[in-house]
Symmetry: C2
Subunit: 138 residues, 2 copies
DNA sequence: TATAATTCCTACTGATTTACTAGGAATTAA
DNA sequence: TTAATTCCTAGTAAATCAGTAGGAATTATA
């Protein structure tokens, strides 16, 4: 049930951007240094977040990334979802359309996985980037 | 955030035992066939559950395993906990006593991991084996 | 215009973990 | 005595994780 570093680093990078929202682009080399995350690895994660529409890039010197929306409107589940699967088991995931097993209707353990999935979603949906900013004013 | 098969198989095996609680020992070869789980792998998982005090073994021919307690008193979190870590990130786990980072007090992302951990615990603590039995009478 | 700082893209890789397999010893009901 | 079981340890192929590496494209500034 552990989160991978993708999700963890992704959230840390996004909170970092949230704390500087409205102050122009922030470069990944800066985030990399301050958050102690490998630059090349961070590039890959942020590329995913950009394709998910959560950040926008400014290319060239003095460029970087900015949040695509107000940090109060971006939930943690939105950040983690593109980076790694959120559902605890395959068969209660809305993304994967694969039919996981034939006992779908009669499966009893499924009950607890759905409950678990919902409570994970609830916790991450109800927390926004601004909730995690050290400067809570933004 | 995916559960490994250890947790998933462990819960399935325990629910299987719960549905036959009070009917004598159930062999792993039977569970293995019915739940379609490799016998040798299942042996290893059940060994962990036995050491955790959740099941008791009956050795020899016509032996097997029985639940150590009433299925209404065994929560799913008790089953999964010995099989795999439940906390989403290292630094909000009560088991590991390792100091994960020096920013423990000022860490802002920690807030959401604690909230996530608590809601995972809550979901799994509040569900028992008997809640997942197809024969809900037991 | 040249340079440095950046994003962007793809391929590779070592280490770790996962999900088993394999083999056998000990126990016990029939 | 046999067959069915638990019990124990070691090994292992495949997948995943957590990056590295190398370079192309873009752009503000000197």
């Amino acid at each position: 049930m552990k989160l991978s570093t993708k999700g963890e680093y992704g959230v840390r990078a996004m909170v970092f951007l949230a704390e500087r929202y409205g102050q122009g682009p922030v470069s990944l080399s800066y985030i990399s240094q301050r958050e102690n995350i490998s630059l090349a690895y961070l590039e890959q994660l942020v590329a995913i977040l950009r394709k998910a529409g959560l950040v926008e890039s400014v290319r060239g010197a003095y460029g970087g990334y900015v949040l695509a929306r107000d940090p109060r409107s971006i939930s943690i589940s939105e950040v983690i979802r593109p980076l790694e699967p959120l559902a605890p088991v395959e068969c209660v995931s809305d993304e994967s359309q694969v039919e996981c097993c034939e006992q779908r209707e009669t499966c009893t353990t499924r009950l607890v996985w759905e409950k678990l999935r919902d409570s994970i979603f609830q916790a991450l949906n109800s927390t926004t980037l601004s909730d995690l900013c050290s400067d809570r004013a933004s």
